[in-house]
């Protein structure tokens, strides 16, 4: 009798995949039938350097060989919501989410449909990559939600990095409540587009958010937008659950 081939799980993404890579070295899957690999898309950076470890062409060549029982976990892009709301805009804005109260206050109210249209433009750019992955393989494709925003503004300010260079410190950071709302809208739109192209959207792991919806402190990477290896471990457990057929780990 030959050995049963392992179920292959390929995780591929951009900056958010770093959390998974951090956790992956020490991670032992409970399910021995899984063969998990983690890849960060290689690309040139603005300063002429390189980032990531897997050229896109190499990844696409690899997923062509996957079987229908294998799975691809996409963590591509996932920062559009930060473009929109990480730094306080000079003209503060707010919006109403469907089924929730309409905000009151001084901030400019952007009608939901206007913001929805704006997000769709941004997300459709991100979606192209997802469609290429979906069309390039027989494996099922899952798209992970990006980590929730960070609520501790002092900790974010400790790592000004590019903030300072770009002269945006004077504007400050948006309120965590707005950033969480924008992130929720992003996920709402992302799920809708995933449904459109046959990709399965996966929300963030249980227990990673505080009561305010922000990422819990223990999952902070030392920057403004990314999560750490502990969060990466939550993702790996979630990924393993998905690969083992635990549909509770998948967003409805």
């Amino acid at each position: 009798m030959g050995t049963v081939p392992k179920k292959r799980v390929m995780v591929f993404g951009d900056s958010h995949v770093a959390a998974v890579q951090d956790a992956f070295g020490d991670y032992s899957p409970r399910n021995a039938e899984l063969e998990i690999s983690v890849h960060a898309r290689a690309r040139k950076t603005e300063d002429g350097g390189t980032a990531g470890d897997t050229p896109q062409a190499e990844f696409f060549a690899a997923i062509r060989d996957l079987d229908p029982a294998d799975i691809i976990i996409s963590m591509t892009r996932g920062n559009f919501h930060n473009f929109v709301s990480l730094v306080q805009h000079p003209v503060p804005f707010d919006f109403q989410m469907p089924g929730e109260d309409c905000p009151e206050g001084e901030a400019t109210l952007i009608p939901f449909k206007v913001l929805e249209g704006s997000f769709e433009i941004g997300l459709r750019r991100d979606l192209r990559m997802m469609v290429r992955i979906k069309e390039g393989s027989k494996a099922a494709v899952f798209q992970l939600a990006p980590p929730p925003p960070k609520g501790n503004l002092d900790l974010i300010r400790q790592y000004p990095g590019p903030f300072k260079k770009l002269g945006l410190l004077q504007h400050g950071l948006s309120a965590p409540s707005l950033r969480v709302k924008v992130w929720r809208l992003y996920n709402l739109m992302l799920k809708r587009l995933c449904d459109e192209v046959g990709v399965i959207f996966v929300p963030v792991p249980d227990g990673c958010q505080g009561e305010d919806g922000c990422l819990k402190l223990e999952y902070y990477a030392p920057d403004a937008t990314h999560a750490n290896g502990a969060y990466g471990r939550l993702l790996l457990e979630q990924i393993e659950g998905i690969a083992s057929g635990d549909t509770n780990k998948i967003g409805a």
């Binding site: 603005e46 929109v84 109403q96 206007v114 704006s118």
Partner: protein, 362 residues
């Protein structure tokens, strides 16, 4: 030969010399038009569909097309345009009648608060009865609509108080109004939102006296908050889509409507200083062009016609041709939010950095 008054008149006073004989593109029906437009003057627009063309050409000709309600800068230009921002100087949609304009300024300053509530579609989405098509997909709640309306009316106030020139295109005399308080609607309830109820709404066709009185009242209220404001009136050459006047035929109803508006415009010009009439209606409808400025539906105006109007408008108001003015066309066309671009660069930079750190460690 005896002398008589016609002997000393310029060519433009004679049909053959100024209408029948010239090349179509050279016909210029402008009579008295004393507006002096400079590139520094803020020009606001409102009115029927044709006013959108004026707004578009002013913008592309380097003049200061004034948009008091541009939409939040974080929203891409394409989406703002799709959602009615920038089509006119504020997001009021089409203002077809003089009564609608008068009620707009009164609503903006809290002098008139119509009883009409929000219009709720079958899918639960919400429309503003006074601009029912301005928000594609509608508002998601009454509170959102009311919040957006409050912002809109604040922008309208700002526009009226700070504009230099207000270009208003008179479009229609026919409208529908609330029996409760006389509030007029841009569209008949039930056409795009709302529900028609003959007990609640009635047809109203304005007379020349009505239009003149409404516009005079509007001009007084505008001057009360902006004494130096100049007003340019035009009459839309776009015919009625349909008439609700009992027994009327639509072409005849159009002729009545446009005649009323044209009479009112001339009366207003003569009565008020700083009020000008520009004959875009004559440029488009004049027999000299043999109908060539209308599209196949005999309603919509083709681009050649709009260009003819705007060429004359800029020549008479600013002393230059639109073509030469296009040098500075990009002046007000910067839509990209610099903040958003910087923020995107920031986040991208951070993403690169973390990956670089990681690859250095591995």
């Amino acid at each position: 030969m005896t002398d008589h008054p016609y002997k000393s008149l310029p060519d433009k006073a004679f049909w053959r010399r100024s209408v029948a004989a010239p090349h179509m593109a050279d016909v210029d029906p402008v009579g008295v038009f004393e507006l002096q437009l400079t590139r520094e003057k803020k020009v606001a627009t409102a009115g029927s569909c044709f006013a959108q063309h004026i707004a578009r050409h002013l913008k592309s000709s380097g003049f200061q097309y004034y948009v008091a309600e541009p939409g939040h800068a974080i929203v891409p230009e394409q989406i703002r345009t799709e959602h009615g921002y920038g089509l006119f100087s504020a997001r009021y949609g089409n203002i077809y009648t003089a009564r609608q304009l008068l009620q707009l300024i009164d609503r903006a300053y809290g002098r008139f608060m119509p009883e009409e509530g929000a219009w709720v579609d079958a899918d639960g989405s919400v429309r503003d009865p006074f601009r029912p098509t301005v928000q594609p997909g509608n508002f998601i709640s009454v509170a959102e609509m009311e919040g957006d309306r409050a912002q809109h009316l604040a922008a309208v106030r700002e526009m009226f108080e700070t504009l230099d020139v207000f270009v208003f295109t008179l479009g229609l005399t026919e409208c529908w109004r609330s029996r409760a308080d006389g509030a007029v609607f841009p569209l008949c309830p039930g056409v795009s939102g709302g529900e028609f109820d003959a007990d609640k709404y009635e047809f109203y066709n304005q007379t020349a006296d009505d239009v003149t009185a409404d516009m005079s009242a509007f001009i007084e209220k505008l001057r009360a908050v902006n004494p130096a404001a100049e007003v340019v009136l035009t009459v839309s050459p776009v015919p009625l889509m349909a008439t609700a006047e009992p027994g009327a035929q639509v072409l005849s109803a159009t002729t009545y409507s446009k005649a009323v508006l044209r009479v009112a415009a001339e009366t207003l010009r003569q009565r008020h200083t700083g009020v000008h009439y520009f004959p875009s209606f004559e440029v488009i409808t004049g027999a000299y062009n043999r109908g060539q400025y209308y599209a196949d539906d005999l309603r919509n105006v083709v681009e050649d016609g709009v260009e003819h109007v705007m060429r004359l408008f800029l020549r008479h108001a600013a002393g230059e041709d639109a073509a030469s003015a296009e040098v500075d066309a990009k002046a007000d066309d910067t839509s990209e939010d610099d903040f958003l671009a910087k923020s995107a660069a920031l986040v991208e930079a951070e993403c690169d950095e973390i990956l670089l750190d990681q690859s250095a460690e591995s």
